[in-house]
């Protein structure tokens, strides 16, 4: 447990430094975009949050799978620990996207495939959280939650591919695994830095929320008493 504490501090502080340095670099030390001007700088906040909102859901679905098949209790704790943080990142992605939309698209909201599927993701996170808290029996709640989390995972490829499958207002991805990024290197490096930093910050959030969940659920066990 003490090692976890040290790892948590290390991850948190190093990723905070990376995130803040990349944000300052991106927001103040890169040139403006030739089309969007300065509003493009929201990319350094929007893209990491959108990326994490999807990857958190995938990790939640994987943990659900592990819980359903092997009944690992820790996996169930992870599922409910990740859900509020996933909701947070999705909320940041939606609001930052809306604010970005005002100066660039001329609207803060469109029922376009990418935006709508992200809204569905947000509602799904909220639904999972409220469902879990509506049960008094933790085990029943865990079982139902992990099933629903797996079913909802279908939304992730839809979000990912929505910009290619439908005509959307949202542009397609600038960074992909297969092609050369369509963003200039001077803008790309701070973006990658902000993604790594934000990732680390979210990992540390997941660590403390799981710590809370373990405390809450194992409070009657003797080892917890020794630790506290």
């Amino acid at each position: 447990m003490f090692q976890v504490e040290r790892a948590y501090k290390f991850i948190l502080y190093s990723s905070l430094i990376i995130y803040i340095v990349s944000l300052i670099w991106g927001l103040l030390f890169t040139q403006e975009d030739f089309v969007q001007g300065n509003s493009y700088r929201i990319i350094y906040l929007h893209v990491p949050a959108s990326f994490l909102s999807q990857s958190l859901y995938i990790s939640m679905a994987v943990a659900s799978f592990v819980y359903i098949v092997w009944r690992v209790k820790l996996a169930a704790y992870l599922v409910i620990s990740i859900a509020p943080i996933g909701a947070l990142t999705t909320f940041i992605a939606l609001t930052s996207g809306s604010i970005w939309g005002i100066p660039t698209w001329g609207t803060w909201w469109q029922w376009d495939a990418r935006i709508t599927s992200t809204l569905i993701l947000f509602i799904m996170y909220l639904g999972l959280i409220s469902l879990h808290s509506s049960f008094s029996n933790y085990e029943k709640a865990d079982k139902l939650l992990s099933w629903l989390a797996i079913v909802g995972a279908i939304n992730i490829p839809i979000i990912k591919k929505s910009v290619d499958w439908w005509s959307t207002l949202h542009q397609s991805a600038s960074i992909t695994l297969t092609d050369k990024p369509s963003i200039d290197p001077s803008m790309l490096y701070p973006l990658i830095g902000s993604m790594i930093g934000f990732f680390g910050i979210i990992i540390s959030l997941v660590i403390i929320s799981s710590k809370y969940q373990i405390f809450l659920r194992e409070k009657n066990k003797s080892w917890i008493k020794e630790y506290v």
Binding site: L23, W25, L27, L28, F29, T30, Q31, E32, G37, N38, S39, R41, I42, L45, H46, A49, P84, I85, L88, F91, I92, T95, S96, I99, W100, I102, P103, S186, I201, L205, I208, S209, K211, Y212, F215, L216, K219, I224, K225, V228
Partner: protein, 55 residues
Amino acid sequence: MFDFAFNSIGEAIYMNGHGIYVWSVVILVLISLLSFFIGYNLKIKKLKKKFNESN
């Protein structure tokens, strides 16, 4: 690549009229992250206090 993109601090805040959008997103992100960290630490503290009282 590492040149300050603006001529003055005021210009960096104004960003040709886009500053309001950019900086409000920055504030939103920082506040929401901070509130989650504080929230979880408070919740854990509360639980620990309960343990100690029950022991």
